[in-house]
């Protein structure tokens, strides 16, 4: 995903290139006018040079045209050909620079990840990257279950990419975003973020997109559980409650054993 700074940078480069090209065209026009004293002819030459960049042999035909229009001085023809070619080089450079600039800032990895996510089948979509999802990912890796992690921040996406984890930088409460994670073809989705409302909203959207999918949500507040189930969650987990039950159960069993 392109950051605002990168967009601004690209825009500035493009704007500068346009200004330079326009300036060169105007200078070319002025020089040609000095040579030929024919503004219409000059405008034609300059525009022809600008738009006819594909035809590299065109400079000779331009020179032929100059002959046909009565420009016989060698220096004039030479100037026309040189200006024509310089214009072509500049235009080509401008296009080349714009393409290079786009490639520099376009996140190729993100595009590849989107394509990989799109062809995923029977996978698990994990929304949110934190300790819980990290531990779940480790277990899924061991079992060989494929998954896609959806995160909101670029920083987390970079962390995941460094671990070679298929990730998408998207808002998982948005329908289009979940579609990009191929939710319609997934076997399950885990909303593991630390926001109960986001997890519940995400579940609602996921259920609408795939009525058969297994939806699991992590919650922090017991009072949200009912709302989560209404939204379409099949299983809600409150990590702290599980830990409390485990601790309490351990003590209960130990006390019974030591009686």
């Amino acid at each position: 995903m392109e950051s605002p700074e990168q967009s601004e940078d690209t825009f500035n480069i493009m704007l500068l290139s346009v200004v330079i090209v326009v300036a060169i065209l105007l200078v070319s026009l002025a020089i040609l006018w000095l040579i030929t004293k024919n503004a219409y002819l000059d405008a034609y030459f300059v525009l022809d040079a600008f738009f006819d960049a594909q035809n590299t042999a065109a400079s000779s035909s331009l020179a032929s045209l100059a002959f046909s229009l009565g420009v016989f001085k060698l220096s004039s023809i030479f100037a026309i050909v040189v200006i024509d070619n310089i214009s072509r080089i500049l235009i080509t450079s401008f296009i080349f620079a714009a393409v290079i600039d786009y490639l520099r800032y376009a996140n190729i990895e993100e595009l590849i990840n989107e394509a990989r996510a799109k062809i995923s089948r029977s996978h698990v979509v994990i929304c949110g990257y934190n300790e819980l999802s990290q531990q779940l990912m480790e277990r899924l890796d061991k079992k060989g279950i494929k998954y896609v992690v959806v995160v909101r921040s670029l920083e987390k996406a970079k962390q995941l990419s460094s671990q070679h984890v298929l990730n998408l930088v998207l808002d998982f409460t948005d329908e289009q975003s979940l579609k990009k994670a191929s939710i319609e073809k997934a076997q399950a989705v885990v909303f593991a973020s630390e926001s109960d409302s986001d997890n519940t909203l995400g579940a609602l959207v996921a259920r609408r997109l795939n009525p058969k999918i297994k939806i699991i949500a992590r919650l922090k507040d017991e009072r949200t559980r009912k709302k989560a189930y209404i939204a379409g969650v099949d299983m809600a987990v409150i990590p702290e409650y599980l830990a409390g039950l485990e601790m309490g159960d351990f003590i209960r069993r130990q006390m019974a054993y030591n009686k």
Partner: protein, 142 residues
Amino acid sequence: MPTAQQLKDHVIVCGYGLVGEKIVELFQQYHIPFVVVEIDKAKADYLKEKGIPTVWGDATASRTLKEAGIEKAKAIAIATDDDAKNLFILITAKSLNDHIIIATRANNDIVVNKLKEAGAGFVAAPNKSASDELFRELSKGA
């Protein structure tokens, strides 16, 4: 409602957050005597109002644990969300009652072994417990 000093073979629950709340719920269900140690005055007052034996104070302090009857307690459940604090409470509790059963919470995986080495009989990590549960559920469909 018995005071902490009157309790014997009870459990001290340190911290009444989400983890502590569930532990208390379980102890109430099984009629296990317990006392809560809570650092937040408002929360401690609320618990007292609800009839839950509570000591208001910092569980890392020996004085607070003594007030909760640590010498006569059977077990301690350390449930705060601060790993360093949990370790400190554990060491303090162990120094006051060497035979006490200790269950503690670990928020970070790294400290699990350290807490066990320090004397915890059981260490619960919320995220690990949750990921185990989630994985079991996901494996059903795999």
